[in-house]
Chain length 357, copies 4
């Protein structure tokens, strides 16, 4: 029984995606993205987003974000983002690195992981007064957020409008984009270009692929230099079909959506199942596929002793952990976790109740 809730990256690929890798292996193809899989992906992505777009498969979300930042901030500039965003806090100074030292990520405070229009405008205006700061060039929002929440379509639209009004371009870090779409029940188009997003880092790896990310430019003029930058970055894979085949399977038959819905549902089930534990605290609403919670100490100790694993988040004194569900997390594994937590909390009947759902 699965006890590893450390990350949505602990899972392997969905069967459909694994099969696509196997199938794409059969014949010779042109290398470096001239293969039929990569060629088809462009059209497939256009259908998915209901618009022409420039699509570039890459290997990780980190490089997707970094290359986007370097383009958006050319020839130099600042990219505003959430303090807790992956782009600012988990990429080893990626904005600065990919831009050759010409750009800077500027962290903004958030509420439930989300930047507000008021905060954004205030920071842009204050930044504009500091003429020796790299000038504001872009806003990056994470959808769903590192706090486990989502921006509504309206929130994205208003943020994008505020950014554009100040001359900034809009980037969306969509490492969990599918989870956000699943949560909101909107279309991918509504959540991106229709809301004003210029470019998207679109992730499949956390949602059922092995290694498949892509940068999708809706503002196609921004894409001009991407191919060269990607090659220079070492993400111009010679056997690109490996990545593109995963993407095609991910987009096929709504696999992306089914996977995301499942991950979201499992996280909701975790939250609901733990909610009655005495002393438990939740950091934010749980809107996508993971729960941020401060478990009572005896529960945490018991679960760790049982072999469960979670990742810690934030400052140690907060005792916050992330319980991450994935596209393949079994419902039984979630229920077993809930039961174990109740047992460690000394609430035996609760476990029984959960088991009967």
């Amino acid at each position: 029984m699965k006890k590893n809730f450390y990350s949505d990256n602990v899972s392997g690929a969905s069967p459909e995606i694994l099969q696509a890798i196997v199938d794409s292996n059969a014949d010779d193809t042109a290398p470096y993205g001239a293969d039929q899989y990569t060629q088809r992906l462009e059209g497939r992505m256009a259908e998915f987003f209901e618009t022409e777009a420039e699509t570039f498969p890459v290997g990780t979300g980190t490089v997707a974000n970094g290359l986007c930042a370097s383009i958006l901030c050319t020839p130099y500039g600042s990219i505003y983002c959430a303090e807790i965003s992956h782009l600012h806090s988990s990429e080893c100074g990626g904005t600065e690195f990919w831009s050759g030292g010409s750009a800077r990520s500027v962290p903004l405070p958030t509420v439930d992981g989300k930047i507000s229009v008021a905060t954004l405008v205030e920071m842009i205006e204050a930044g504009a007064l500091r003429t020796a700061d790299p000038p504001g060039r872009a806003l990056s929002i994470t959808q769903g957020t590192e706090a486990g929440t989502v921006y509504t379509v309206r929130e994205v639209r208003e943020l994008a409008a505020a950014a554009h009004a100040k001359g900034l371009l809009v980037h969306m870090d969509g490492a969990r984009f599918a989870n956000a779409v699943a949560r909101l029940g909107c279309t991918p188009a509504e959540l991106t270009w229709k809301a004003g997003v210029d470019v998207l880092s679109f992730g499949a790896t956390k949602n059922g692929a092995l290694c498949a990310e892509a940068v999708v430019f809706f503002n196609r003029g921004l894409a001009e230099t991407f191919r060269y930058r990607r090659r220079r970055a070492g993400h111009h894979y010679s056997k690109m079909r490996l990545i593109s085949a995963q993407w095609l399977a991910f987009l096929e038959n709504d696999l992306w959506l089914r996977n995301a819905r499942h991950g979201n549902a499992m996280a909701a089930r975790v939250r609901q199942g733990l909610a009655d534990l005495p002393g438990i605290r939740f950091a934010h609403p749980t809107e996508i596929n993971f729960v941020l919670t401060a478990l009572p100490k005896r529960v945490w100790d018991g679960l760790v002793a049982d072999g469960y694993s979670f990742s810690r988040r934030g400052a140690p004194r907060d005792g916050m952990v992330r319980i991450a569900c994935a596209c393949d997390t079994p419902v039984e594994a979630v229920d077993a976790l809930i039961e174990a937590a109740h047992r460690h909390a000394g609430l035996v009947p609760a476990g029984a109740a959960v088991g009967s759902r």
Copy 2:
């Protein structure tokens, strides 16, 4: 029948490697290289090279070379390499980029793709006089070379000794390292650290993997910053097992060697089979898995009309093409190519002769 001799990258993965990807998909693992496959790889690589080494899987040879150059040239400096080396001519200014503008690749002329000790020493000494040049920090040699040749163990040893005597570190770009070992009949250890190589970009992708490269530090003190640099580069894959599992299969049961031997044998067969074509020219000895040749025009035209594909090399006026064989190139495909070439050259019996070999 295979007609695509454009690159050794047109092939998919060897069956053993594909199976390893499938097998590694079954269970949850720790992400970001804390998985059991990646953990095992370090030990496996030590056995392979008969020494302790620091091994880091990455996604492409370009990033392997770039990160190596950035480390070798810290805080600033020059890396000497062959004019035709991938590092200098095919990575979009990678040395300059990965070093944040602090390093420079300095191209050296070659004979049959190889740098001589005399050339190296002369260039280092001349460079040392130019105090406003980034100081010499490293030598990078490609094994096997972009010219289809190999440095002998002795040549590597002498180059490394000359470099070390001048205070330079030694990098080997081993995108086709297995092909070189197969050609030379030496051990991997003899061709690397025993000969003075400090760090190796070791490639599996061109020789049967889908996406599996690694940087192997024999001079382990150089490895200290690699993990961070790799993460910043977006090559710290969350599902690293994808790459590590390929590596384990590649090293298992001498798959790497069998694959390389086959590719080399097929290239030798191509060369021998074409050698009697009137007017054909070969650029260099054929010592690994591809042939550089200027085909007579009517042969070239005929083969293209038949659907064959090769890549052009060098200046257009030279009419040089690369006929690349891979680990899975069927002997029948090679013979059919030879026969077709003879047919287009107007040498009908030759084709028959080849067929009867």
Copy 3:
């Protein structure tokens, strides 16, 4: 009568320094710092600081800080500094730029422009938990601060000890170093290497030179790459004597100290003279050569109408201005300013009172 209190940079050179430029012009000298002025400066600086040090003249404080940050943070890392520090907020992302994208300045909150040990330790410890952040490498403190205050010798010592205990090196931005020494009545040595400072950006331009800054390494091992970095930065002046001759005059006969004392005294006189204006606010103690104050609106309007100029600081809504005195600000000009301010405040007799001091 001087009405320009915009900056300490509005003044020309002190007569002694101007004369030194004229005198040094007479004969041919070796270029690029091999001249006798630059050669003597090293020894002169050692006397000044009572220790061997590596001294490098440069043209601006911005390049002094940037090159220091690039060295301190090699091969990558973070430099902690005050939010309002010149290094973080007035150098166009200099830390990021000079390091080729490998380093980052991390702003810390301050009280009266000064970083506290508690804040520093807390930030270093929090940073150490974020393994994907550039690791902490250095602390930069500004002496005197951008708030017009000074760190005491003890405060410098405690900050440096805390930084060193965490493995960080210590940089001091001494654009107004002489003003701080004058204020504290200590020796230059006590305020720098004796207190744990590894490297100093030492400025003369704001205190009577035309264009003379220097980087002084007390931790001499850090200086190894400076010469090359300075040349690459275009601060290796061919006629370096221009800068070095200014430095020699600046250090001669305590010109630096006399100049700094005068600037400090004039700022104290401004503050004292304005203190009784109804509604006036001062942002911080006035410990060096400028006053940060929010003038009553009618006073501000009146002074501007009179032709006075000051620079605005901080957010517009705070209405804060900097009244900067320099080494050559006449006492009469200060008194005239005070009188005018009182007049605009409707306090006629006050002006008279000031006039009679």
Copy 4:
């Protein structure tokens, strides 16, 4: 008597320029280039070049070239230049550095220090085939060259036309621009924008200033980001009047031209005076203010023993030295040098003959 022919940088400032520094010191001015000297310079430069241009004073030619390269090659690219150009060989990898690793200087072979149209076109076309090279963005030509020669107006025009036809911008490194104009007898306009030059690094330091270089954009659209880049580079001097006042004096009353003519004439006199020494060789025509020559060994030894100094050029085995004259080199010093050389060559009467000229 002057015996220092090491460089044109061994001289101090011309009296007019020194006086301008003294004069500009008198009053308070606005800092950071808002002073009256810098404000006037823009208009003065427009008159000088008979066109509107964007002018930015900086401190050294190295930073002028580096910032130009970074702008011309944005967002990434190659700048073609002479192998012996200062930009390629004397700026510590400046193109790579200032561009944050995105650009590369590509050295071209020269004849008498000059790039030919044929070479340029060949290299651009070859480069265009190498799609993984930073794409060609600019040509940089040095006027006068490091070989002591000048491009004719027609040569500049043809090179610029060839570059523009290939989509490249044209930079001129005019560290000795005045010497070239003096030699050619043309106008500054004819040698720059009228011939197709987009941007000029204009130097005064080698020709009578202490520290005064400027970047002049004729293609004014390229100037947009310069101010920020200069500030980031630490060349936005707080007391910018120091540099601007030198420029105004340099351009006043044809001081630039008189200085350049004198330097050129002295070099011509050196060459003519040494021409009859048995065994002497000259590397190139002497068209500006220095002579490149291989002196007979006994002459060299004798002059060094006399206390003369020259700089060595090129490989040691060539024995080539540069005899540099400056704007203030006395004719008597030249004649004494010639006489001494003849004496050391055993040609006593020659010295006498020279003396009587």
